[in-house]
């Protein structure tokens, strides 16, 4: 299967085409066909994964896509252990979301279209994962962006959803300018964009490292956009306007992780320079802390999860920047499951109470046992409680920071971990425990149907167990499979660190318990005490307002100015030239009329005038005429005589 890895993305594509052109009228057929296709991809991915476990060697295959005598741009696939892991993550989450949506999207008028988009997304995401050249990655990168746009704005009648889709597309596109520029620079410096060739080139040491390093940082900008890293993080919370299964699949587990995946792919380039690695790690750390702090005070269940996603992605980026290839990708692996579970659980809740506001929920545990329990598992996992997945992967990251002596980043990680534990349990307690704050919503709440709860249960199992693959004591664990370079990264298990991280997570949960369950400490009192800080966090550090004022509005202003310029200046010159010509021709016409034609007509008028005078002599009196003749004759005769 490794050699035929390109087949895996193909099945969702078939499903997309079939739904759009054939099945769209039949909702049932569309959804079942899509599910069947993604399940085939899932099975194939598992086969590939198992083969890769046994083999462990990277495989690549390229075909001629564009070529000239002096330049080539081949396209192909590149499959290594990281690819195998990503394939598993994407296909599992995608399959579960496909199934979950049967219930969640039931009755939507655009049900078939939803499955078409899901299929298109799955195709693009899988394509992105197996792509063997950065150009091809860019291709799928943009395609996942498109499907993200389409799915965020799926309920496009809501203006806010349509706006969010556009915001997501434009923000990530802005970041992708960096990707594009980096790619251009890469092609210029290294004359190749193929991942295996580039890796060889860097290993050989004959590459212009500085240029490649700059290219890498530019491409990392693209990754920041996709993974909603500071300062491009603003689109992800808004993206929550999309249907919840979409948030789970695209904006939690897979697409947003694409940036992390890309950064991991570019590990060789990033590690070229210390400065660049620091930039990457810093951006990750800033994002992790900032997003977690915003998450503390939000009230929209999905937005809290979105900020949590941003924060967790920051973790991964930070880990990669610190050289923790294994740690970063492992956290990506575990995070996908528990975050997808959190979103699907949130979806289940929203499905039941028809609101996103956690202040209007409460006490739902009694009504929705499965959702509540699975949600609790996921919350514990993300908080990093032993022995759930999140504990192991988060611990890997701490270990990387600690071993490398990066205590600043370790502190940032711990701060974010504390906040994560706190806001997750704030969310949990407010939603599932206590007394219902909205009686009406509570009364109508009910557990979701099986096709929604079964994916929850499967993900709950994965949220618990997936991390066990990376237990540091394991001989052939994750670290020896997904590794950078030829040597397995083997962090020494550090019991003290583990205990510390457990303590931080526990205190976060405990604090949330005191505030929101026992109500020993009043949330309002804290909010009032730190009012400026609370407002700052509640308004998300005013990033949206800043961007609106600094980028979006000026752009619109400029467009108006340019259009004016076009109309007034350029067209003014053109029309002015035309007017001048017209004036000139008008003047010529006057000249013609009065001077040239005047001469011609004047001759006519003159003869007329003379005639008018002379005709007075015509009296009609014959005798007068005769007299004149006679006088004339006499004059003639006299002249004759005078002459001679």
């Amino acid at each position: 299967m490794i050699h035929n890895g390109w087949l895996i993305p193909l099945f969702p594509l078939i499903s997309f085409l079939m739904i759009v052109f054939v099945l769209k009228k039949n909702q049932k057929a569309s959804s079942y066909f899509a599910i069947a296709m993604v399940l085939i991809s899932l099975v194939l991915s598992f086969i590939l994964f198992i083969e890769m476990l046994a083999d462990g060697h990277a495989y690549h295959k390229f075909v001629n896509w564009l070529s000239w005598s002096d330049f080539e741009l081949p396209m192909g696939i590149f499959i290594d252990p990281l690819t195998a892991v990503m394939l598993i993550v994407v296909t599992i989450v995608s399959s579960l979301v496909h199934i979950y949506s049967l219930g969640y999207m039931h009755g939507d008028p655009r049900f078939s279209r939803f499955y078409a988009y899901l299929s298109l997304f799955t195709f693009s995401m899988l394509g992105l994962v197996v792509a063997g050249s950065y150009v091809l990655i860019l291709v799928f990168w943009e395609l996942v962006g498109l499907t993200s746009y389409l799915l965020i704005g799926f309920w496009f009648e809501k203006k806010i959803a349509a706006d969010a889709g556009k915001k997501a597309f434009v923000t990530t596109k802005l970041a992708d300018l960096g990707f594009l520029l980096g790619l251009m620079l890469l092609l210029f410096a290294a004359h190749t964009a193929s991942i295996p060739e580039l890796n060889e080139l860097i290993e050989s040491g004959h590459a212009p490292m500085t240029l490649i390093g700059i290219a890498g940082i530019l491409m990392f900008m693209g990754a920041c956009g996709k993974s909603a890293q500071f300062p491009f993080h603003v689109w992800l919370p808004d993206a929550m306007e999309g249907p919840t299964p979409v948030s789970a699949l695209i904006h939690a587990a897979t697409m947003v992780a694409a940036g992390v995946y890309l950064t991991a792919r570019m590990m060789g380039i990033i590690l070229v320079s210390e400065a660049m690695a620091t930039v990457v790690a810093t951006i990750g750390a800033i994002t992790a802390v900032m997003a977690a702090s915003i998450g503390l005070v939000q009230n929209d269940i999905k937005r809290i999860l979105a900020y949590s996603t941003v924060s967790q992605l920051g973790y991964m980026i930070m880990a990669l920047g610190l050289g923790g290839y294994t740690a970063g990708s492992f956290h990506l692996f575990t995070h996908a499951f528990f975050k997808a579970l959190l979103f699907l659980g949130a979806g289940s809740v929203i499905h039941a109470v028809h609101t996103n506001n956690i202040q209007e929920m409460g006490g739902l545990h009694g009504k929705m046992k499965i959702t509540s329990i699975t949600f609790l598992i996921a919350s514990l996992s993300i908080a990093g409680i032993f022995p759930l997945s999140g504990f192991w992967s988060k611990d890997e990251i701490f270990a990387v920071a600690y071993d490398g002596g990066h205590y600043f980043f370790l502190a940032a990680g711990i701060a974010a971990a504390f906040m994560t534990a706190f806001y997750m349990f704030r969310l949990y307690f407010l939603t599932f425990t206590g007394t219902p704050r909205d009686r009406h919503a509570y009364d109508h709440a009910h557990e979701s149907p099986l096709n929604m709860t079964i994916p929850l249960m499967i993900l709950a199992v994965l949220s618990v167990c997936a991390g066990w693959w990376g237990i540091p004591w394991l001989e052939h664990g994750y670290g020896s499979f997904v590794k950078f370079g030829h040597h397995a990264h083997h962090a020494e298990p550090n019991i003290a660190l583990m205990a510390g991280s457990l303590l931080v997570a526990g205190s976060g949960i405990g604090f949330a318990y005191l505030v929101y369950r026992k109500k020993v400490i009043s949330a309002e009192a804290i909010g009032a005490r730190f009012k400026p800080l609370y407002k700052l966090l509640y308004n998300k550090y005013y990033f949206d307002e800043l961007y609106m004022a600094a980028i979006v509005n000026p752009t619109y202003k400029i467009t108006e100015i340019f259009f004016r310029f076009d109309q007034v200046v350029i067209d003014g010159i053109v029309n002015g030239a035309a007017k001048l010509t017209l004036w000139w021709s008008w003047a010529k016409e006057r000249f013609d009329t009065y001077v040239i034609d005047g001469a011609v007509n004047g001759a006519g008028y003159l003869s007329l005038a003379i005639g008018r005078v002379l005709r007075r002599t015509q009296t009609g009196q014959l005798q007068t005429y005769a007299l004149v003749v006679f006088i004339g004759a006499v004059i003639l005769i006299f002249m004759k005589f005078i002459r001679i």
């Binding site: 005709r615 009296t619 009609g620 009196q621 005798q623 005769a626 006679f630």
Partner: protein, 104 residues
Amino acid sequence: MGQLSLYHFLALGAVLFALGVFGLLTRRNAIGILMAIELLFNAAAINFVAFAKYVDPNGLAGQAFAIFIITVAAAEAAVGLAIVMLIYRNFRGIEVDKINFMKW
């Protein structure tokens, strides 16, 4: 006083011609004008005959012209009177100063 010379005839012709011209220019009656024209004709005829007699006694050209003039005068009188008749019918009068409709 002696013999009649050419000059006597020429003088008679001139007097007749002058009378004719005077009549032509001054008469208001169309008939009068016609008569004045006859005088002009006759003045010319006398001159012809006189010159024939004194300048070329053997030739007959002068006499022939005189005959022509008489013929033409007759014809002219006929046509002229016919015109006068028509004028009279149309204008109820033959005063030429009233017949100025040919002016501009």
